[in-house]
Symmetry: C2
Subunit: 269 residues, 2 copies
């Protein structure tokens, strides 16, 4: 894919500060960034907003809100309040999309945990609508149902979008989480213009853990051109954000990671 | 669940030989075992068959056939030939079920790899029918699509059974692989009497790898009574086999593992 369609998710180069990420993006002609909340907060939200706006870069999304599941009502209220702050941060850095990682299992109760997620998103919709920020439900790989997201397939995410019934809510397609799914292509088509983001990396095997085993595009199992073509055909015309959580790539200098990632983005996505 | 419904998969105590597993099962009043091929072959197939038959234990299944995917036709033929040997071993030890782990991705081509699996099973059906041995398609967790099984959900396994259309072919429900799936209960009901086996362990989080991170029943995320009740309600009346692939539990003496596993089987499944 052409670099004009490239976004850089900051976790890929997590040793960098926000100003350093901006500098890298500008020097390398990456037009879009997608910051995680920690580096926005580390900079101070107002200052982060000025930096991003002054840079001329676009911001595909803020990563991440969500984590709606909790054993008690006060925990779930606190989660919604934290998401309201995330909406403010998203507004400050000039993005119209907040990525949601929905939250893991509570009490061995999958249906109940999934209800908590729906209720959490519904509680957030009025503020998101008022702020003009869309909520992107990102299904995570099924290996993270216990720990991070009871929403594990694009089909489930689409069902959730249907159930909530707000134009403010859509889905994120992260290839790492959904590539294995026999229903993937049908669910991408079903999602259509409700796709709010595309994240790219690769699945390398064997994995060494659930969080930081991701591979560089081209090193793994995923038919990246097929998935990205399907997402484009469904109507999504935003950037493909490079999001690689990887102990291996985190151990290398950011310049090395970006050299390889941009070459691979153009060759393999 | 009562111990009269308990099966012991030999990988749970993989330091033991087949005679040692038989001895443990007899002393602990476990009525059923499910051996992996390696310990059957280590004993010699004919002798293993005599040992099992003399023991009076039942054998729920032989684990495992499958691995039908390969980059070229000769590799796929070799896989079918190996499965024919597995059928002979299954017959020798007196079981009527061969568990199939279908094989991982070849060449980034998921649909093509899934076709290889279907063709491999179809090639095996005549011999399985002649031997009176049923083939149990075991969907593995989606984190193993790259390495071990492109069949990743019970829905896919049911689709495959439908496509093959032989009464000799059914599915295995291993809770570790399928617990997370929002469609699980519906697909268990759909599978009905085509369920040929039930495997129990638990999902503990975070996982530390794709193969040997399994937990002891009761230590993890899975609503074991709900899944096992659904499998019973669908018509399966065989044993629940304890199958725990775990670096942690493998590091402990087999006696300790069995003490805990049998207590948990009765308390948590």
């Amino acid at each position: 894919m052409n670099l004009s369609q490239c976004g850089l998710n900051t976790i890929t180069v997590r040793s960098l500060t926000l100003p350093e990420v901006i500098d890298q993006a500008q020097r390398r002609e990456i037009p879009v960034i997608s910051p995680w909340r920690d580096i926005v907060q580390a900079e101070g939200v107002a200052r982060a907003g000025r930096l991003v706006r002054d840079s001329g870069l676009k911001v595909s999304s803020l990563v991440r809100g969500g984590m709606f599941t909790a054993p008690d009502a006060s925990g779930r209220r606190a989660a919604v309040e934290d998401n309201l702050r995330a909406l403010e941060e998203a507004h400050a850095i000039g993005t119209d999309c907040l990525v949601l990682v929905c939250g893991g299992l509570v009490g061995r109760d999958l249906p109940g945990s999934r209800t908590m997620v729906r209720e959490g998103i519904e509680a957030l919709v009025p503020a998101a609508t008022a702020a003009g920020i869309r909520l992107g439900i990102e299904p995570l790989h099924p290996m993270m149902v216990g720990s991070r997201s009871v929403v594990a397939t694009l089909g489930e995410a689409n069902d959730l979008v249907d159930a909530i019934g707000s134009p403010q809510v859509g889905v994120i397609v992260d290839v790492y989480h959904v590539w294995w799914d026999a229903d993937l292509m049908a669910e991408i088509e079903r999602a259509g213009r409700r796709i709010l983001g595309l994240h790219v990396s690769d699945w390398v095997t064997p994995i060494t853990g659930e969080l930081s085993s991701r591979g560089m595009m081209g090193d793994g199992c995923i038919d990246l051109p097929a998935v990205s073509a399907a997402v484009r055909a469904a109507g999504f015309d935003g950037p493909a954000d490079i999001e690689i959580l990887s102990d291996h790539w985190w151990s290398l200098p950011a310049d090395t990671v970006l050299d390889v990632a941009l070459e691979r983005f153009q060759a393999c996505v």
